[in-house]
């Protein structure tokens, strides 16, 4: 890999990164994507490094993706779930974090229901922290893998990401995927559109680098890509939605709607999907769907992140590495 000074100890959200750094990260992921297509999908890059996967909130796909990414880099990965941790015995997050660090991991990947939890660890621990989702706040690796998938999609057609448009549909208010994606995509030069019922938009959304639409057909018209967000069924119980059939009828992305978009525009979903609620089943299975491509990209992008943080500045002379760390 080429020499690049990576100044960040942690990955907490996408707005910590410059466009250049995002470019380097995605280029690195391209190289790992190549590794993932080999018969032997393993490189010795992180041999001897320890990665703790601390998932205090339920997750299958993100945890598996990080686990596979770490293992393909030959790192040792250790999983800690909330149900098996002392958090269930009343231990504070601070004490759990200090305990994990005492085992000298190189990277801790954290998923937590509290917004700001990854930063909480980053401020207290010397090892690298990767935010795998904190509350409604941020999910930077999801946004990066989404950007990676879109970049590959458009590059295959000889097109550039910058100048494209992306529509994000659904529960923006409670979505860390939406927050990180809006920031990252806007930074990469996409124009971001949002469509959601007002109850699922946060107050202050007008300050975000996105255009809020009040009509789904207008929002889809001429758009280059569409991303659906997962609807948590508890939003209906909380009184934010009348009922799910109304949502399905008025907010679900269908093949018919996609006819209004740019021909061939991809449809994305961070998963897990509620078919027929957020995205029509036939659309999800159509060639326009990037959903499985997103999952596939996730491993390569997470390999890139773990590689960059796990070997951060190791190739630099000692003094320079120290300076880069400060």
């Amino acid at each position: 890999m080429e020499s690049f000074i990576w100044p960040h100890k942690d990955l907490l959200d996408v707005d910590d990164l410059t466009v250049q750094e995002v470019g380097y990260l995605l280029d690195t992921a391209e190289q790992f994507q190549e590794v993932n297509s080999r018969p032997v999908k393993k490189v010795p890059t992180l041999r001897g490094k320890g990665i703790i996967l601390f998932f205090a909130e339920n997750s299958t796909r993100t945890k598996t993706s990080f686990d596979m990414a770490g293992k393909r880099l030959s790192a040792d990965t250790f999983s800690l779930a909330k149900s098996g941790s002392s958090l269930n015995k009343g231990e504070s997050l601070k004490d759990t974090a200090l305990t994990l660090e005492a085992m000298r991991p190189d990277v801790i990947v954290i998923r937590h229901s509290s917004s700001g939890a990854a930063r909480f660890l980053a401020e207290r621990l010397d090892c690298s922290i990767v935010n795998a989702g904190d509350g409604w706040h941020a999910h930077p690796t999801q946004a990066l893998l989404d950007a990676f998938s879109l970049r590959r999609h458009w590059r295959a057609q000889g097109q550039d990401m910058a100048g494209k448009s992306l529509l994000i549909v659904g529960d923006v208010a409670h979505s860390r995927v939406a927050r990180s994606n809006i920031k990252l995509m806007a930074a990469l030069g996409l124009s971001v559109r949002i469509f959601a019922p007002r109850t699922l938009l946060p107050m202050g959304v007008e300050h975000w680098p996105a255009q809020v639409y009040d009509n789904l057909e207008k929002a889809v018209s001429g758009v280059d890509a569409v991303m659906c967000l997962r609807l948590q069924l508890e939003r209906q119980a909380a009184g934010l939605l009348p009922d799910l059939s109304e949502y399905a009828a008025r907010f679900c992305i269908t093949l018919r709607l996609m006819n209004l978009a740019v021909p061939g525009a991809p449809i994305m979903h961070p998963g897990p999907m509620n078919r027929g609620l957020e995205v029509a089943s036939d659309l999800a299975d159509s060639p326009a769907s990037l959903v499985l491509d997103q999952v596939n990209s996730g491993v390569a992008v997470r390999m890139a992140i773990l590689y960059i943080l796990g070997t951060r500045n190791e190739h630099l002379p000692a003094g320079q590495a120290e300076a880069a760390r400060n």
Binding site: L93, S114, S115, R119, W136, H137, A173, G204, W208
Partner: protein, 424 residues
């Protein structure tokens, strides 16, 4: 100062009564009461002790009408001994502790216990004026025995910590409290608007991914209280006002002559919700820090008298309780020892004395020192130039949960007397 004792404080800075500006004043105290305050030198009686004020500024002791002293039940955060020590150092000669202790102060036994602890640990003051619970256990279901609480020494009634969600119960509480001459201090918060909120609802909460409470979550209950106060022609005192909508409603009410009074805290006229992007739990408080526009409106409300008084809402929490993810942290700041340093740059000394002492005494029917002959000799000296750091060494409260922790503030109380007795 005991019987027959005379004391003269020389050269204390104070605005002259005739409006001719700051002048050194001499103060004569006899038997713990003010005998005379005058610019220039007064003749000290031969049997008087004399102390030089060294040009420091003279204030009547402050009264904090809204504090949480945590005893009984949460003594690891604060107790009456440490809370009153903090009050002494902050210039407060009297404190109204709220009822959300454990057990709740909803019966005479708890009120009496609080008063006994104060008398035992601070026999010379500061004075404690307990606030009784509005509802049993603060649960908002049935009225607390206000007659019993008043007889035991409660001076006001409040459900503070939680808004009263049932408007009928609140109406009856206003009526029943009036029977005993008790003022109601209302914590205005509609719990159905943004239940589980973590901060103000604004662009800042959207960015942080935290559940926000809008200012109207406070203002809808302010409006309810104002309408009930007018309908019943009974007074209500509105606690810790934080939103511009509330200020506008109170302005409207006062214009109509409705018997409503209101308080706010130093942090609502100094800090806004854009000030803590990094999930710093030291800034988490109830009501939440609101927008810059709210801060301006609340400060203007204090300046023009729509908001009558300042209170600290001193709410101690232990360090380990605040060192958690933002949504797990309890809400509240300590405030007794930082209040004067924070507000002295905002208001002139006469206004400070009004919003921290005189008007507070008037609202709650307490005695305050107006420096007229016969007034209680409750006063302190303030050094406006003294720079000090908010840290463990300087803070007498058991807890350090304040956004100003580690910062240098200018201005500090350097001596404090109650009934002519020098506390420090």
């Amino acid at each position: 100062m005991n019987s027959g004792k005379k004391f003269v404080l020389r050269g204390a800075l104070r605005q002259a009564a005739d409006g001719s500006g700051d002048k050194p004043h001499d103060l004569l105290i006899v038997d713990g009461k003010v005998a005379r305050l005058a610019p220039g030198a007064i003749d000290a009686p031969s049997d008087a002790t004399v102390e030089d004020a060294g040009g420091k500024r003279l204030f009547a002791s402050f009264i904090d009408a809204h504090a949480h002293l945590r005893e009984p039940g949460h003594e690891y955060k604060e107790d009456i001994a440490s809370g009153l020590a903090a009050a002494t150092r902050g210039g407060f000669g009297a404190v109204l502790p709220m009822a959300n202790t454990n057990p709740v102060n909803d019966c005479a036994a708890v009120t009496r216990f609080m008063l006994e602890q104060a008398a035992k640990t601070h026999p010379h003051g500061p004075r404690l004026y307990p606030v009784g619970a509005l509802s049993v256990g603060l649960a908002g279901k049935e009225l607390a025995p206000m007659g019993e609480l008043a007889a035991a020494g409660a001076v006001a009634i409040s459900n503070d910590g939680r808004g009263v969600q049932n408007a009928e119960l609140f109406r009856r509480a206003m009526e029943y409290a009036a029977t005993w001459g008790l003022k109601i201090i209302d914590h205005c918060e509609d719990e159905k608007i943004a239940s589980g909120w973590q901060m103000n609802e604004s662009g800042a909460s959207a960015d942080a991914g935290l559940k926000g409470q809008p200012g109207v979550g406070e203002a809808v209950q302010v409006a309810r209280d104002i309408l009930l106060a007018e309908y019943l022609n009974l007074p209500v005192h509105l606690a810790h006002i934080s939103s511009r909508q509330s200020v506008e409603l109170i302005r409207w009410a006062k214009g109509r002559g409705i018997p409503v009074t209101a308080e706010t805290c130093p942090h609502y006229v100094l800090l806004d919700d854009a000030g803590f992007p990094d999930y710093n739990t030291a800034f988490k408080v109830s009501p939440p820090l609101r927008t810059a526009a709210d801060v301006r409106a609340v400060l203007e409300g204090v300046r023009d008298g729509v908001i009558d008084i300042m209170v600290t809402d001193h709410a101690p929490h232990a360090a380990h309780e605040k060192e958690v993810p933002f949504d797990e942290a309890p809400k509240g700041f300590i405030g007794l020892e930082t209040a004067l340093a924070l507000t002295c740059p905002l208001f002139d000394p006469a206004k400070l004395e009004q919003i921290w002492s005189r008007k507070t005494a008037e609202i709650f029917g307490l005695r305050a020192n107006g420096f007229a002959p016969g007034d209680p000799a409750d006063f302190f000296l303030f050094d406006p130039a003294l720079v000090w750091e908010v840290n463990r060494e300087n803070i007498y409260s058991k807890s350090l949960n304040t956004p100003w922790l580690g910062q240098k503030l200018q201005g500090r109380v350097v001596a404090h007397w109650l009934n002519g007795f020098k506390l420090f």
